[in-house]
Chain length 190, copies 2
């Protein structure tokens, strides 16, 4: 039921989907829907939690790796791992992440989701800052900007990635990691 609700929200927009639409999609009566879930917003909260729990776990693992400090000289490996693993999460939870990326803060549930996204973004920027500080990545660009652009590239895959398409999630995650850290230029040019 959650799967089909998420797909409907993504097709019609969450605001544009009524409980009657949900009932029609699922072949239930409206009262049967209310028997299963207290509200449309409850389904939204479950969907956003699905995406946020996975992404939060990826970030927490990177922070915890080695004792929770980001100042032990291995920020680069953690950052690389977070980029790769978040791409894999996006591919595996694409419908829920698509919904998350469209949230604009129109309700308490959406505001809570935005707050969790901001926490994730802050950790990612911190990891970029630590990797620059240990001398592993370029330090000529603001860490917040680098973080936004790299994860903007990661997030963009929800627009076109298909689980049944030509490329596996692992191959796409490897490509994103390669471009983000090594760039497109052939090494000989640098």
């Amino acid at each position: 039921m959650l799967r089909r609700a998420i797909d409907l929200f993504n097709r019609k927009g969450y605001e544009g989907t009524s409980v009657a639409d949900l009932a029609a999609e699922l072949g239930f009566s409206k009262s049967a829907i209310y028997h299963h879930v207290p509200s449309k917003e409850h389904l939204l909260a479950q969907a956003l939690d699905e995406a946020l729990d996975e992404l939060t776990a990826v970030v927490r693992d990177a922070l915890d790796d080695g004792g929770g400090s980001v100042a032990d000289g291995r920020a680069y490996a953690r950052l690389r791992s977070v980029v790769r693993r978040s791409a894999v999460v996006l591919a595996a939870h694409q419908p829920a992440v698509t919904l998350l990326l469209r949230v604009r803060g129109n309700s308490a549930v959406e505001k809570e989701a935005l707050a969790r996204r901001r926490w994730i973004d802050a950790q990612l920027a911190q990891l970029v800052r630590a990797a620059a500080a240990e001398g592993a990545i370029r330090d000529d660009l603001p860490p917040e900007l680098v973080s936004r652009l790299i994860f903007g590239m990661v997030n963009s895959l929800v627009e076109w990635f298909r689980p049944d398409g030509e490329m596996t999630a692992a191959a796409v995650a490897d490509a994103i990691t390669a471009i983000a850290f090594d760039g497109l230029d052939r090494p000989a040019r640098g």
Copy 2:
């Protein structure tokens, strides 16, 4: 009027915006709106054309540079220029591009816009292929994937770029170009 219609479409979603909403936003009566534009879809078409005309011009310039051929050994410079200039266009036409990126093909106007986007995407992938063929960029990743990811990073700036923010459009475009071609790694690592 087009500016405010685009902002309203982006806030409420195009489907979720009625002509009555538009009239209320602009302080006009519904009949006054219809005096100025034949339909809501007419405004959408104008907005999408604004974004697509600019992006198409950037791509055409890259194709025409040097006589319309992409096989004269300078695909790399053209690709770099298209990445940089498309980021500048996105920053300068952010509301119209935001609307464009949300189009899903729900009408003839939207289908036409998607067809123009596909033409642009095909030219970009072709340029990536040419740059790889001339040995300037890595050739270990499919050109369509590279093109999607790089322009996914470019497109992501509509989510957060603010014309009155700390960074200029030129600085953001330079950062995107630097990351895309040179990557985050310090040259010494490579």
